[in-house]
Subunit: 112 residues, 2 copies
């Protein structure tokens, strides 16, 4: 991956402002849970267009924005590609065990 | 507590039908999270009227119904008192770690 960041998205939530309410509101949506699960499984950041989600581009943009504003993922431009990464450290500090429990359950249900 | 059960509420969710979606939908509401946190902290079942929640009776009844139908709590009449208990075993089996993580976070935020 080209690590040169040429632009930043500036409305990320500060780590200390991550709340249970915000994270639950965001992850109550199954498409957003799927995005988070795919990011969790990825070793690296993922470009917006590479997720396996069956929604329009504008819906997808909305979902990424909700996740970003809840403090769940970080988006930055790597070269010209908007790239997503999960804020695992920030989430684990704010809400210990929650992300893991949701991912585990989501995986379990996806495998049913 | 009088353990004679004189009536049962019959629309409880079967343990195997508990879903992540249903539990997240139920626990996204802060009043319902407060009910669950109080039940979690109680050693025994709690009568509906004994929870510290600042809502009308009909709103309270609605919240208990949502929690019951999501498989989160069980309600039964003990004598003439409708009594609530948390379905911890069923929840831990269906969604390992989720309830604990949400309770921990809710406590943490309540203590802020």
């Amino acid at each position: 991956m080209n690590t040169q960041t040429v632009g930043r998205i500036t409305d990320h939530l500060a780590a200390e402002d991550i709340t249970l309410q915000g994270v639950l509101d965001a992850l109550t949506d199954p498409v957003r849970r799927s995005i988070v699960r795919q990011l969790f499984d990825a070793e690296d950041g993922m470009a917006c267009g590479t997720f396996d989600i069956n929604v329009t581009r504008s819906t997808s943009t909305h979902h990424f924005k909700v996740l970003r504003r809840a403090g769940i993922l970080r988006q930055e431009y790597v070269g010209t590609v908007k790239t997503n990464s999960l804020r695992r450290t920030d989430l684990d500090r704010a809400l210990p065990g929650l992300l893991d429990a949701i991912i585990t359950a989501a995986r379990h249900e996806a495998g049913r």
